[in-house]
Each structure stands twice: as structure tokens, then as C-alpha cells.
């Protein structure tokens, strides 16, 4: 969808100057996902498809309850199902997978198209389809492998945290549809507090490694997740242990590119300076010593 309101943009991809236009200060919104009470009913998947008019996705039976193997440009919300043997028993771990709306979005940092990815004052990270060129750099910048590309448009599409609903005071569609109440929506502070409360309950029940997944490597995420087995995030559909903006992307943007720009401009300036100082390499003299052809 197009940028909601430029008064709320705090960060914008690939801007030379003036990337922050936010006048409004808004509380950071957050989704809390409690995997310990998720029953894998997929009402949230359906709600997301319906609200965003993404249509029905064709899929195939791959020997799992998981609808799709990964997210898709037309499928922004996926319940991951992982069966695992833990302590002599079998655990069926389900986690709602979607864009994490990082406070330090790697997709935004990697994106070379001006204004294609924006971050609003409330923390939502959104794609401006008008400006996306479908180059795929965002997929390299994201540690959660969220960005996917549309076969129809070639551009990137992902969970918008229902920015259109949130802007008018509604909760996201997935939150509204959840029947067990394992999804919560509110300010980041409130969701972290709620999540920590649930983690304390799980610990009291014997899940000593229960934790709230809110990785600092990306300066915290808009989507925070309660994990009963908090020491093994990778068990929950491959959640990365220490996600951060890839160092290669950082190095490219903040070191290689500026140095390169200076080097190329410097070369042009240097060539000009060379000419001023050394002039031309030629020999002047008698008729047959002309290095240039005589003008006809």
C-alpha cells in the first residue's frame, strides 16, 4: 500500500538527505505472540488473506500442517509447524511467522531505492510499492528471510502490521481473528510486560528456559514472541538465535559505498588537476611532428 502519512515517517530507504519527516510522536505498537497457547487453527492466516484481499493461495500437501513452506508475496502470515522430540516426548511447536517490524530494519538499510521501504513513528515497517524496483536487496538485509517477491509485479510485499487498520484505531486482522487469545496488540511496553508475565507463568510450570523473543541485534522487534523453549528459537520454524543486520550490508553501505563515491569523484577531479598541472603529452615543432591530424 502507499505510504500512510509522511508526517509519520521516521526512516526511509536510500535517502541522501531529509529522510525523517516525522512530526507526530506516536507510541510504538507491538504484537505479542504467545506460542504456548497457539493451537495452530490458522484463523490468523485466513484473516490476513481476507483483510488484505490477497485471495486464495494454491498449495500442496507436503506432509505437514504448514500451509506454505515459506512466506510469499501473496501470503504474509504463516503458522510454522515443527514436530520435535524433547525430553522423551514429542512437542508440536507452532509459531506465527510474519515480518518482525524490527526497530532497526535490515530491509530498509539494504534497500537502494529511495523511499521504497519506510518506518513509521509507531514502529511499523512498510513497503511503498510505487518506489520498489524489485531488486531483492531487502531479502539480503533481513535476518528473518521475510521479503518475498510477487510474480505479478516483481516487487516486494510483506506483512504491514495492518497499518491501515492501526492508523484508524483498530487492531490488526490477525489479532482480531485469534480464538484462543494468544495474540495481543498494544504498545511495545505493554506487550513486553504481558509477555514477561506469561514467561514467568511458564517458568513456574517447569519450562525453565521460557523466554520472550525480542532480539537486541535488531534493536528489538515490533513483534515479540513467547517461547516455552526460549533457549532454542530455531526449533520454532527456524527463528534465528542472534538476528542482526548482516555485516556485509552494513559494510557496503557505510564503508565501501562512500569510499567508492569519493574515489570516483576524486578520480575525475584528479584527472582535471593533472591536466592543469601537467598539460598534454605531445611534441611541438616542425610540420611532421604534429601528433594531431591536420584539420582538413
Amino acid at each position: 500500500m502507499s505510504v500512510q502519512n509522511s508526517l509519520e515517517v521516521v526512516r526511509s530507504s536510500a535517502q541522501v538527505w531529509g529522510s525523517s519527516s516525522a512530526q507526530r510522536s506516536l507510541p510504538t505498537v507491538s504484537k505479542l505472540i504467545d506460542t504456548s497457547t497457539c493451537i495452530g487453527c490458522k484463523a490468523c492466516e485466513v484473516a490476513c488473506q481476507e483483510w488484505n484481499d490477497l485471495g486464495v493461495i494454491k498449495t500442496e500437501q507436503r506432509g505437514t500442517y504448514q500451509t506454505m513452506p515459506t512466506l510469499d508475496a501473496g501470503f504474509w502470515n504463516l503458522i510454522r509447524f515443527d514436530e520435535r522430540e524433547v525430553d522423551g516426548g514429542v512437542k508440536w511447536l507452532m509459531r506465527k511467522d510474519q515480518c518482525m517490524h524490527c526497530a532497526e530494519p535490515g530491509c530498509l538499510e539494504a534497500c537502494p531505492a529511495p523511499g521504497a521501504i519506510v518506518q513509521y513513528a509507531n514502529g511499523i515497517v512498510d513497503v511503498n510499492q510505487d518506489n520498489c524496483i524489485g531488486c531483492g536487496y531487502c531479502a539480503t538485509g533481513c535476518p528473518f528471510e521475510v521479503p518475498k517477491f510477487s510474480a505479478k509485479t516483481g516487487k516486494m510485499a510483506k506483512c504491514t502490521l495492518c497499518v491501515d487498520r492501526v492508523s484508524v484505531g483498530l487492531e490488526p486482522a490477525c489479532i482480531k481473528a485469534c480464538p484462543t487469545g494468544c495474540l495481543h496488540f498494544g504498545t511495545k511496553d505493554d506487550m513486553v510486560a504481558l509477555g514477561n508475565h506469561r514467561v514467568a507463568q511458564l517458568k513456574a510450570q517447569g519450562y525453565e528456559q521460557a523466554a520472550l523473543y525480542d532480539p537486541s541485534g535488531v534493536d528489538g522487534t515490533g513483534v515479540v514472541t513467547v517461547l516455552a523453549h526460549g533457549d532454542h528459537p530455531e526449533w520454532y520454524g527456524g527463528l534465528p538465535r542472534d538476528p542482526h543486520v548482516p555485516i556485509g550490508v552494513r559494510f557496503w553501505k557505510n564503508v565501501v559505498r562512500p569510499i567508492g563515491l569519493i574515489a570516483i569523484v576524486g578520480a575525475v577531479v584528479g584527472a582535471f588537476g593533472h591536466y592543469l598541472n601537467f598539460g598534454k603529452k605531445e611534441v611541438k615543432g616542425a610540420a611532421d611532428s604534429e601528433t594531431n591530424l591536420p584539420q582538413a
Binding site: C135, G136, I247, G260, A271, F278, K281, N292
Partner: protein
């Protein structure tokens, strides 16, 4: 009456001869690059230029103003890999066609280093320089290597999701670093071929240089072609 056929009588003899011969003397001129060589060079140059025009605005928003030249950033994103492919192909043709003329002689290896700066100060003793000097030969091979680096990394950037995140990261860096080094070198290639050394640009358009130009820049080549004595 001239023995040349009627249609060639209004034509410049040097230009006619330059269509299929080089390293020959015609009047006061020496043919340096025949037509096929010039076409190869300009194919590489034009495809390189299209790559630069389409790639720079993607590379940095500082050059976003270049995107409208081609119709917008989306056009750039579509065009760049195709022009890159064309550039790689043209570079390969150039590599194969000119390889034998560019082989470095042992005494030319010293061009990698301070000798390049001495050359830029116009202070080198060029008396033994053949058709191509050491700097030109090194430029030939480093360009070929750079074209290969750009191609390999470019394919990854063209189809990013078919490669692992680590490979993609490496490709972004390789493509960037290679391009930067190439661009700096090209600035000097163009500068030397135009403003700094008069008479050079004509060698790649008309195909010829004056005898004086050859005596100044490539004396051994001049001696081999004219039978003149080394002074």
C-alpha cells in the same frame, strides 16, 4: 586517373585501408586499429556506459537524478543486468581478439607500481615501447578480470533468492568493489585517450595516428613499421 574504383575516389585512402588492415603506413599516417578492432572497442565502451547509466542510480541515491535519463529506476533495474550481459560478451570478444597483442613482456612487469606514476608525470623513457605499453596491457587484463567479477556477482544480484544470504552479501560487496576500481581506472583511460594525449582519440575513431604520435608514444612500434633507426 586514379586506379581506385569510382566509389572510393572521394574516400580517404587511410580510412579505406583501415577497414581491414592495421600496423601499416599510409602517407603521414599509421593505421593503428582496423575497423573490427574499433567496433570491438566501441561495443565494450557503449555497453559499459549503459551499465554505468543504469547502475549508478541503483548504487547510490546521490545519482538518483540519472534514473529519469533511462525512464526511471525500474527501467534501470530491468536494463542493468541485460546490458551487463552484453558488456560481458563484448569483453570476452575483446579478450579473445586482442590477447596475443597484449601479452606482457618480462621487462614490462615493472609497470605495476611506481612506474605508472612516473608515466603520468610524462617522465618515462618510452624508447622501447611497442604497440601497447605496459600500462595498457595491464589495463587490458585487469579489465577482463573485473568484467568477470562483475558478471559472477551480477548473476547473483539478478536472481538473489536462488542463492544463500551469505552468497548474496558477498556478491553485493564484490560487485561494488570491482565496479569502483573499474570506474576509477576508466576515468584515467578516457582522460589519457582524449585530453591528455592529443591524437589518441582518432586512433579509435578514424583508426589512424600520425607518425609523430607514434614516435612519441610507441617508438619501437614506429621503428618496426617504418624501418627507422633507434636514436
Amino acid at each position: 586517373m586514379s586506379a581506385a574504383p569510382i566509389r572510393d575516389r572521394a574516400m580517404d585512402e587511410a580510412v579505406v585501408v583501415a577497414r581491414d588492415s592495421e600496423n601499416v603506413v599510409v602517407g603521414n599516417e599509421i593505421i593503428r586499429h582496423r575497423l573490427s578492432s574499433r567496433l570491438i572497442h566501441w561495443s565494450v565502451a557503449v555497453t559499459f556506459f549503459v551499465c554505468v547509466l543504469s547502475g549508478m542510480p541503483i548504487w547510490t541515491p546521490v545519482f538518483a537524478w540519472m534514473a529519469p535519463l533511462l525512464g526511471g529506476l525500474n527501467v534501470c533495474r530491468w536494463l542493468h543486468p541485460w546490458s551487463g550481459l552484453a558488456f560481458s560478451l563484448a569483453s570476452l570478444v575483446m579478450l579473445v581478439a586482442w590477447y596475443s597483442e597484449m601479452e606482457l613482456r618480462p621487462d614490462e612487469r615493472s609497470w605495476i607500481g611506481p612506474k605508472l606514476f612516473t608515466y603520468m608525470r610524462y617522465q618515462t623513457d618510452d624508447s622501447d615501447v611497442g604497440k601497447y605499453n605496459g600500462g595498457q596491457k595491464i589495463f587490458f587484463f585487469t579489465s577482463a578480470l573485473a568484467a568477470l567479477g562483475l558478471l559472477v556477482s551480477g548473476v547473483v544480484l539478478w536472481f538473489p533468492l536462488r542463492f544463500s544470504p551469505l552468497v548474496r552479501e558477498a556478491a553485493i560487496l564484490l560487485h561494488d568493489v570491482t565496479f569502483i576500481m573499474f570506474a576509477v581506472t576508466i576515468v584515467f583511460h578516457i582522460y589519457l585517450g582524449t585530453a591528455a594525449e592529443p591524437g589518441t582519440f582518432g586512433s579509435m575513431t578514424r583508426g589512424t595516428v600520425t607518425k609523430a604520435w607514434a614516435r612519441l608514444h610507441h617508438p619501437r612500434w614506429y621503428r618496426e613499421l617504418t624501418g627507422a633507426e633507434k636514436k
